[in-house]
């Protein structure tokens, strides 16, 4: 809570200091309402605050962790309540499936000066979103513990397992590994990472037919279970927040964690001194002898609603462009994320995400039915993680649950 308030304070401080600079005729003038919905973390706050600087009409922002539950509903009406949704590569799919966002080609041509080509999210030849930051999960470890155990930073998950065993056997830590393995979205995300690391394909090519019940799927599950043996026994209730808390308390030596969470782990105000001093970022790990890192690349970006007037769309585009204006990348905004904006300089908290991109990690799939598989994974592999059934049964359950859902949504007959 306090942390969130601090973030709010920091984010609003940025807005306050930035306001005088951009309000004095620097071009951000809008003539129609702007209403933003998006996730709640510091980088998103910074962008929304940049949009709010614009003068001439009202700019509202509703930033909440529950944004995915409200964005489709809030953009389906005509006129839509939200004129812009801030989304990521997984969540743009729901907006595309429901046909609530508009192509941005005209607006990019008119007002998009300074956007780099790789910021433009193009679907079927049309620009549908403007990306502003990248994210990925990667290794983070405690250099002091690894040194005491006499091991080096793992390059593969197999090395991570071996290292965990040494740390535990030497009595340095009871549960040396951490991970966001909470049943549901988080656990499914870890499966997705590990399956991609094994070189797996989620669907039969060109169709919505799932195919994960294979040797790679089994190997993926076996690896997740082997890792969980070195985690706090409550791991199925630990999301990124709880895992970060365990890390800050000094209970964990190695974990695979989101790049956007690194800042707080290394922040002396939020974490214990030894942990802050010894928290070290590593590259994403590979698994099973593969060369593709077992992680996924993510982008965050903004969209413009379809069911609004052209004037509102234009105002929204201008305001959001101001949110990601390169001139706003000051000392406070720079370390909040791996920005895709011109002029970004990576800091010590960003090297992991940069490494993921360098190692050619695969972006999280932008498929209309990937979300259904993600949900099925999150609930059906839990029995396996608890040792109640074998890997093949769990994977068969996932396929059956996905197939039922995909039939309902009209992806399969």
């Amino acid at each position: 809570m306090i942390k969130n308030i601090m973030r709010l304070v920091v984010a609003s401080a940025i807005a306050v200091f930035a306001a005088p600079i951009f309000a004095d005729g620097h071009g951000c003038k809008i003539s129609a309402r702007v209403s933003i919905v998006g996730n709640e973390f510091p980088a998103i706050h910074a962008v929304a605050d940049g949009a709010k600087v614009c003068k001439g009409s009202e700019v509202k922002a509703n930033l909440t962790a529950d944004h995915q539950k409200i964005n489709v509903a809030g953009m389906s009406g005509n006129p839509a309540e939200y004129t812009s949704a801030i989304i990521a590569n997984s969540s743009i799919v729901a907006l595309m499936n429901n046909d609530v966002i508009r192509p941005l080609d005209d607006l990019v041509a008119k007002h998009g000066k300074g956007l780099k080509k790789n910021q433009l999210i193009t679907i079927n030849g049309k620009v549908m979103a403007v990306a502003f930051m990248a994210n990925a999960q990667h290794l983070v470890y405690r250099s002091d513990i690894l040194e005491k155990a006499g091991i080096s930073a793992p390059k593969t998950y197999e090395e991570m397992l071996a290292g965990a065993k040494i740390i535990k056997d030497k009595g340095l830590m009871d549960y040396p590994l951490g991970g966001a393995y909470k049943a549901g979205w988080n656990l499914a995300q870890e499966f997705t990472n590990m399956y991609i690391g094994h070189g797996g394909e989620f669907f039969k090519s060109g169709s919505a037919e799932v195919s994960i019940n294979n040797a790679k799927g089994v190997a993926t599950l076996e690896m997740l279970k082997a890792l969980s043996a070195y985690m706090n026994p409550d791991f199925l209730t630990h999301d990124s927040n709880a895992t970060s808390a365990e890390w800050k308390a000094g209970n964990v030596a190695m974990m695979n964690m989101w790049g956007s969470r690194m800042g707080p782990l290394m922040d002396p105000e939020q974490s214990t001194p030894t942990v802050v001093k010894t928290t070290t970022l590593g590259d994403p790990m590979t698994v099973g002898g593969g060369s593709t890192p077992a992680t996924t690349l993510w982008w965050d970006g903004w969209t413009v609603a379809k069911n609004i007037s052209d004037a509102e769309a234009e105002a929204t585009f201008i305001a959001m462009m101001n949110g990601i204006n390169p001139k706003r990348l000051d000392d406070k905004m720079m370390p909040l994320a791996v920005w895709l904006i011109e002029g970004f300089k990576p800091g010590p908290a960003n090297v992991g995400v940069a490494a993921a991109a360098r190692m050619n990690a695969i972006p999280y799939p932008m498929l209309p039915y990937q979300g259904l598989l993600h949900s099925a994974l999150g609930s059906e592999i839990v029995d396996f993680m608890q040792g109640k059934e074998d890997a093949a049964t769990a994977l068969a359950d996932v396929e059956a649950a996905y197939t039922a859902a995909a039939k309902e949504k009209g992806f399969l007959n």
Binding site: N124, D174, D234, L297, Q386, A404, E408, G410
Partner: protein
């Protein structure tokens, strides 16, 4: 009462019931019979910060007309009821044929989400309801025999678990029973097992949810029974005393029969409430071990890809479940009512 008077008296209630109960139920029944239209899928070239590649997307142009002409979607009848996420008719048949004995059948059925959820929901309902009735009654008797000056304060504290909103209450307990929390650590110390974790074992999670359920609901039955105790006929109690009835006999033969209508009422409310168990599952992050129909509805509505037909179907199944649960109690009330009016 004249029929006309009755009609005008009942009209506001009837229209409210129609608007807020009958229409929504009608709406979810309709929604559970339809699914979205078949998606027209095309392969397109998509580009993002990490490069361009061929990917599958939905062809919006092609589905737009279909959606406009039939906005309800595709009629599928009872297909959703029968699919794996709900009653799983085909899967149950297969398991029945393939299983060699009942234990195996039970184990395999537990692998299907609906039956797994029912197993927990029914266990929860049928342990929490009697336990909260018993505890509520005992607390009511105890408070009733307290000295006059102490009663107010005791009642206030006894009601606290009900006043705390369920989500907050379960979150507070969630952190206390964490393996690094105060109750979690205490249990590890008592049982001399440093790896003991309430959240990692299905059995212990169920126990934890049931204990929470009783803790949260007992004040409700307490306050109802306590009110009932104030109407206890003192002359009946006194004559029982004169006849030599012990304290236990007085409770058994006088107090409980007097409170019976209230016990039925509380049981009815609690059966309904407990069948819809939801907040503790979210608060305790217990979805890995315990699920309920209400949790399924929440999950269907909250995902990146919303399953609206599935959520509607689960809602209809919840209503059917509640009706089945309440049926014996309703029959009983109906019979009592008829007996009374016959006299």
């Amino acid at each position: 009462m004249k029929h006309k008077t009755f009609f005008w008296f009942f009209l506001p209630t009837a229209s409210a019931m129609l608007l807020f109960i009958a229409l929504p139920i009608f709406s979810i029944v309709i929604q559970s019979l339809f699914t979205p239209h078949d998606a027209v899928i095309i392969v397109t070239e998509n580009c993002d910060p990490f490069g361009c590649k061929q990917e599958t997307t939905i062809d919006q142009e092609a589905t737009r007309d279909l959606r406009k002409s039939e906005p309800l979607g595709k009629f599928v009848g009872l297909e959703i009821y029968k699919d794996r996420g709900h009653l799983a008719v085909n899967e149950v048949k297969e398991i029945w044929i393939e299983s060699n004995n009942f234990t195996e059948f039970k184990k395999n059925i537990g692998n299907l989400p609906f039956y797994r959820a029912m197993a927990f929901t029914l266990t929860f309902t049928f342990t929490v309801t009697p336990l909260m009735l018993v505890f509520g009654f005992i607390i009511a008797l105890a408070v009733n025999s307290l000295h006059h000056n102490l009663k107010g304060l005791t009642i206030f504290f006894s009601l606290l678990p009900m006043i705390v909103s369920p989500l907050i209450g379960s979150l507070v307990l969630f952190w206390m029973i964490d393996s690094r929390g105060i109750i979690g650590e205490a249990l590890q110390y008592v049982f001399e097992d440093p790896d003991l974790s309430l959240k990692a074992s299905t059995g212990l999670t169920w126990v934890m949810l049931i204990v929470y359920g009783v803790w949260h609901a007992a004040p409700f039955s307490f306050v109802v029974f306590y009110a009932g105790l104030q109407t206890l006929p003192m002359d009946t109690i006194e004559s029982a005393k004169i006849d030599g009835a012990s304290r236990l006999q007085q409770v058994w033969y006088v107090v409980i029969p007097h409170l019976m209508p209230l016990i039925t009422f509380v049981a009815l409310m609690q059966l309904m409430d407990n069948f819809r168990v939801f907040e503790p599952i979210v608060g305790f992050s217990a979805e890995a071990h315990a699920q309920s129909l209400s949790w399924f509805i929440f999950n269907d509505l909250g995902g990146e890809t919303r399953l609206l037909s599935s959520a509607a179907t689960s809602s209809v199944l919840t209503i059917i479940g509640v009706s089945i649960l309440l049926f014996p109690v309703l029959i009983r009330t109906w019979r009592d009512f008829n007996e009374k009016s016959a006299k």
